[in-house]
C-alpha cells in the first residue's frame, strides 16, 4: 500500500476588489451610474483646483459669449463664465445633496427605530404624523418655507435645512417597516434571552443587518434633496448670488434665453442635472438589484 498523495488543487480566493469589479460587470446600471458620478466628481475637483472661481459670479468676464475655446460653455447675460459656474454649482449641489440626504436619513433611522422597537404610544404618534404629512406635496410646501425667509439670509445650508424639514417621513416609514420584521427574527430573541440590553441589541444585532436598507434610503434621499433644492432654485427661491444649477436656469428663463438665441445658457445646467439625477437613479436601481434577488432574475 502506497499512499497516493493527491495534488491538492490550489484554491485562489479572489480579493474583495476583484469580486467587487466582477459584480460591477454583471450589474451594468450600478457601473454606469458610478462611472458618471465619478466623471462629475473629477470635473468638479479639477475645476475647483484650476479655474478662477471668481468667474462664477456676475461681471467677471465678457457677457453673452457662445461656447468657444476661451469659454468652453459660454458666458451668460450677467457676465459669468458658465464653465466655472457649473464647477461651483456642482460643488454646492453636492453639499446640499449630501447634507440634506444625511440629515434626512439620520432622522429617519432614529425615528424609525424608536417607533418600531419601542412600539406603543410613540409608534402610533410617529406613524400617524408621517401618514398625515405624506399626502402634502412637500415640494410646494417648501416653497412657502423658503419664500418666508429673507432672501439675504438664504444660503445653501438653509436650503438643505428647508429641504429636510419635509423629507424625513419616507426614510422613517421604510426603516420602521424593516425594524418591525427584523425584531421578530430569531437572532434578536437569542440576544434578548442571553441578557443583552436594548441598546446592545439595536447597535450590534439589528443595525448591522439594516445597513443595506439605510444605504438605499440614503441614495434615495440624496436624489430627492438634489431635486427638491433644484425645484426651489428654479422658482427663484435659492440663494440668488450663488451659481446653483437651478438658479442658472431660473436666471436664463428670466432673460428669455431661448428667445434671445442664448441657447447655451440654460442648456449647461440642465445637462449637468440630468447627469447627476440620472447617475443617482441608476445607482439606486443597481442597489435594488443587489438587495433584491427577485429583480435580478430577469437579467
Amino acid at each position: 500500500m502506497t499512499s497516493v498523495s493527491l495534488a491538492q488543487p490550489e484554491i485562489i480566493q479572489p480579493s474583495r476588489i476583484t469580486l467587487f469589479l466582477r459584480y460591477l460587470r454583471r450589474n451594468k446600471g450600478l457601473t454606469i451610474g458610478l462611472f458618471i458620478l465619478l466623471l462629475l466628481v473629477v470635473f468638479t475637483v479639477y475645476g475647483l483646483a484650476t479655474a478662477d472661481l471668481k468667474h462664477a459670479y456676475p461681471i467677471s468676464v465678457k457677457s453673452k459669449q457662445p461656447p468657444s475655446w476661451e469659454f468652453p460653455l459660454g458666458t451668460d447675460f450677467f457676465g459669468r463664465d458658465l464653465y466655472v459656474a457649473m464647477v461651483v454649482g456642482l460643488k454646492e449641489t453636492a453639499i446640499i445633496g449630501l447634507l440634506a440626504g444625511a440629515l434626512g436619513t439620520l432622522i429617519g433611522v432614529v425615528l424609525g427605530f424608536i417607533s418600531a422597537y419601542f412600539g406603543g404610544f410613540l409608534d402610533t404618534a410617529i406613524k400617524g404624523i408621517c401618514q398625515i404629512l405624506t399626502p402634502i406635496p412637500a415640494l410646494l410646501m417648501q416653497v412657502i418655507i423658503a419664500g418666508s425667509l429673507d432672501k439675504r439670509d438664504v444660503t445653501i445650508y438653509t436650503m438643505a435645512f428647508v429641504v429636510v424639514l419635509l423629507a424625513w417621513m419616507g426614510p422613517t416609514l421604510v426603516i420602521r417597516a424593516q425594524v418591525l420584521t427584523m425584531k421578530e427574527r430569531q437572532f434578536v430573541s437569542v440576544a434578548k434571552l442571553s441578557g443583552m440590553g436594548d441598546l446592545g441589541i439595536i447597535f450590534s444585532e439589528i443595525l448591522p443587518n439594516l445597513l443595506p436598507f439605510i444605504a438605499a434610503a440614503f441614495v434615495n434621499q440624496v436624489f430627492y434633496s438634489v431635486f427638491a433644492s433644484f425645484y426651489l432654485a428654479v422658482l427663484g427661491l435659492g440663494p440668488l448670488r450663488e451659481p446653483l444649477l437651478g438658479n442658472t436656469i431660473w436666471a436664463a428663463q428670466g432673460q428669455s434665453a431661448f428667445f434671445n438665441n442664448w441657447w447655451w445658457w440654460p442648456l449647461a445646467p440642465a445637462v449637468a442635472l440630468v447627469l447627476i439625477l440620472g447617475s443617482l437613479a441608476l445607482i439606486n436601481m443597481g442597489m435594488d438589484e443587489l438587495a433584491n434577488p427577485r429583480v435580478r432574475k430577469t437579467e
Binding site: 402634502i136 412637500a138 410646494l140 425667509l149 428654479v234
Partner: protein, 332 residues
C-alpha cells in the same frame, strides 16, 4: 363601509388641518411682515415717505387682523379657509386669491389630466411588457430607454425639449398659450388648434418626465407577479399568452400601481407648476411664479394651500375608487 368612509374623511380633515397650520405658522415664525415687505419694495422704487409708510402699514395690519392675539388670528384664519377665502392679492389688489386661482385653474387641469392619463397608461404597458418574458424582443428593447428617463425630472425635460425641438428644429413654439398677436376666440377652430399646438411641448415634457417612473415600478411589480403560483397554474391550464397577460398578470400588477397614482399626484402637480412657468402658460404655475417674483405672499400661500388641499382630497377619493378595482376589498 360607512366606518371606512368616516375614517378616510377624518384623515382628509387631518391632512387639510395640518397643511393649513403649517401655512399659517411658518410665515409668522419668520420676521418678514408681508405688508411691510410690499411697501418697502414700493419705497425702494421711490414714492413713499417713511412716516406715511408706518401709518399705512399699521392700518393694513388692523385690516388684515395682524394686531390681534395669535390664537384669534389662527381661528379667524381657519374659519376663512373653511369658507374658501384665501385672502386678496397685494399686487393686483382688488383681485382675490381664489379668483386668480379659478381663472388659471382650467389650463392646469387640462394639461395635468391629459398627460397623467397618457403617462400612466403608456408607462404601465411598457413596464408590464418589459418584465414579461414572452414579449417580443423589440418591445422589450423599446421599454429600456423609458426606464432611464425616470432620472430626468419633467422640469429638466422642459429645458431639453425647448432646446432640441423648439429651438433647434423649430418644430414647436418656444412658449406662450397661443401665438402672439392672436385675439382669443374659443369659437374659431384655428384658435383652438393654435392653443393645442402650444400645449404639445409642455405636455410632452410632463409625459416624458413621468412615464419612466411608471415603467420602472410596473416592471418591478411584473417580475414579482410572474413567479406567483396562479400565473403558473393558468399556464398549465393551457390559457393563451394574451389571456394570461391581460387577466392574470396585468390585472394584479395594476392594483398597487393605482395606489401609486394617488401618491404621485403631489409631485406631478408640483412639476406641472414649474413647467407652466417655463413655457409661459397661463395656469397656476404662472400665478405662483409671478407671485414669487413680486413678493405677493397671500397669493403664494393661497396657491400652495389650494393645491395641497386638492391633492389630498383627490388621494382620498382615489382610495374610494380602489375597491372598484379590487374585488377582494369590495366583498368585505
Amino acid at each position: 363601509m360607512i366606518k371606512l368612509i368616516t375614517r378616510r374623511l377624518l384623515f382628509l380633515v387631518m391632512v387639510i388641518w395640518a397643511a393649513s397650520t403649517i401655512v399659517f405658522f411658518i410665515p409668522r415664525i419668520s420676521t418678514k411682515n408681508p405688508v411691510r415687505e410690499r411697501f418697502a419694495e414700493l419705497a425702494r422704487a421711490g414714492g413713499f415717505a417713511p412716516a406715511d409708510m408706518e401709518k399705512i402699514i399699521a392700518s393694513y395690519s388692523t385690516k388684515f387682523g395682524l394686531d390681534k392675539p395669535l390664537w384669534q388670528q389662527y381661528t379667524d384664519y381657519m374659519a376663512s379657509i373653511a369658507r374658501f377665502d384665501l385672502g386678496v392679492s397685494y399686487n393686483k389688489y382688488p383681485k382675490t386669491v381664489i379668483g386668480l386661482i379659478m381663472d388659471s385653474l382650467p389650463w392646469t387641469i387640462v394639461l395635468l389630466l391629459v398627460t397623467t392619463v397618457l403617462s400612466f397608461v403608456i408607462g404601465n404597458l411598457l413596464g408590464a411588457v418589459a418584465a414579461w418574458p414572452r414579449a417580443p424582443q423589440w418591445v422589450r428593447t423599446i421599454a429600456t430607454p423609458f426606464i432611464l428617463l425616470q432620472g430626468v425630472p419633467p422640469v429638466l425635460m422642459g429645458v431639453l425639449l425647448l432646446f432640441f425641438i423648439a429651438f433647434k428644429l423649430k418644430m414647436a413654439p418656444l412658449g406662450g398659450a397661443y401665438s402672439t398677436g392672436v385675439i382669443p376666440n374659443w369659437s374659431s377652430p384655428a384658435f383652438v388648434w393654435d392653443v393645442v399646438w402650444h400645449q404639445i411641448l409642455p405636455g410632452l415634457a410632463l409625459l416624458l418626465g413621468t412615464v419612466g417612473g411608471w415603467t420602472l415600478s410596473m416592471r418591478g411589480m411584473g417580475i414579482t407577479i410572474q413567479g406567483e403560483d396562479y400565473v403558473n397554474f393558468a399556464e398549465h391550464k393551457g390559457l393563451g399568452p394574451y389571456t394570461i397577460f391581460r387577466d392574470y398578470y396585468l390585472r394584479n400588477a395594476l392594483l398597487p400601481q393605482a395606489t401609486g397614482l394617488a401618491l404621485a399626484l403631489g409631485s406631478v402637480v408640483s412639476s406641472a407648476i414649474v413647467i407652466e412657468s417655463q413655457f409661459g402658460l397661463p395656469g397656476l404655475g404662472r400665478v405662483l411664479d409671478a407671485a414669487i417674483r413680486s413678493n405677493d405672499f397671500m397669493v403664494i400661500y393661497g396657491v400652495v394651500l389650494f393645491v395641497t388641499i386638492a391633492v389630498a382630497t383627490l388621494m382620498v377619493v382615489m382610495e374610494f375608487v380602489y375597491p372598484l378595482l379590487d374585488p377582494r376589498i369590495r366583498n368585505e
